[in-house]
Symmetry: C2
Subunit: 221 residues, 2 copies
């Protein structure tokens, strides 16, 4: 099946090293959860994040929320013609089951992700909806066994969503960055067979996802 | 200029009639604002909203946030080739100035909208960024003086985003519903010249906006 992987996603819980920073303690107490169980979020933890490695690429669960909603709002996803995965900067892979309806309210999404990071599974009654596993990016890609892996990045060869979609078949994995700026790390780009840029302008991850999935839908549906 | 109007948007502050409901009082006190100054939000005020007229169409600021971000993340908007307006169920028109960068964090968007509803203007230094006016939908459309008004709705004639974009010129107003379900009210549809449906499936407002603006960009840029 066609796969979309949101790679190096800026989605994680607060790392231990900054769990005692006042901005983290304050927000954790407001939410009523232990500091290590809340999502790292630049909107609240900007000061605390200054100490983190690669901080500029992290702590943007809002971006990942948009990217996921964009993907899961498409007819391709509703028709079970698309699998959606998130791979995070901290090497967690998130598996969405078929027909998962993610909350549009950020507050509910935040709670859902916190539950996922804590329990590693989210269930509705007995159905498994979302699962989190410790996994390197390369192992996730190997598990999907795609016939080709296409990355979308400004560093890629100039193309258009329309042209890239013509290369896609039902076993392709499309990789889009789930971070606020910068490019794919070597870990990610070494698993990508073809990298394309679909715009002269820097596009947000959710815009790239909307366009490529829409063009794929024109061809695959 | 090409205009996008997000019509009957489910964005408003808590109406007086339910301002004393426990769910409203609780959330207002958590945020530290008077109940009448916080956004009506089904995620928090579901119980209180049962008493409201047309409740099913209201209290979804998250949808409006997505729709606005989708529109303002496009190259058309960045290149000043698109004006974006919101018209709310309570007859408020919201005017975004050029190059306004809306916050992606919902928590910041919420604060911005609460400021807008309270002060009717949002400024950055001396620049006016966003303005709110009391205005009927028909008066907003008259003010835009479009050569044609195209509505996108499942009730419209079957078409595609590609075909609709071919009808668009730089003086067209495109109208998309900013509500969770249902169709345009008579007030809105009476100002629309052509109504089209661009998918067999019900698409979220943000998906409709992503697709139509992308197809318009192919033609206009």
């Amino acid at each position: 099946m066609l796969s979309l992987v949101i790679a190096e996603a800026a989605l994680e819980t607060v790392p231990k090293s900054i769990a005692k920073h006042p901005s983290v303690v304050k927000q954790a107490s407001k939410i009523g959860k232990p500091a290590g169980e809340i999502l790292l979020d630049r909107s609240y933890h900007h000061g605390a994040m200054l100490k983190l490695k690669d901080a500029w690429k992290r702590g943007r669960p809002d971006l990942v929320h948009f990217a996921l909603l964009e993907a899961t709002s498409t007819p391709l996803y509703h028709k079970n013609m698309l699998k959606v995965y998130v791979h995070t900067t901290a090497n967690k892979a998130i598996f969405l089951n078929e027909n998962v309806r993610l909350p549009k309210s950020y507050f509910r999404f935040e709670g859902l992700m916190e539950e996922l990071f804590k329990n590693r599974k989210v269930r509705s009654n007995s159905d498994l909806l979302i699962e989190l596993k410790d996994m390197e990016f390369c192992d996730l890609i190997n598990k999907l066994t795609p016939t080709k892996v296409i990355g979308l990045s400004r560093t890629g060869a100039k193309s258009s969503a329309e042209e890239v979609a013509k290369m896609v078949n039902s076993d392709t994995a499309i990789v889009v960055g789930g971070f606020p700026r910068g490019h794919f790390s070597n870990n990610v780009s070494s698993k990508i067979n073809y990298t394309y840029s679909i715009s002269d302008l820097a596009l947000e991850a959710h815009v790239v996802i909307a366009r490529i999935l829409y063009e794929c839908e024109k061809i695959l549906v």
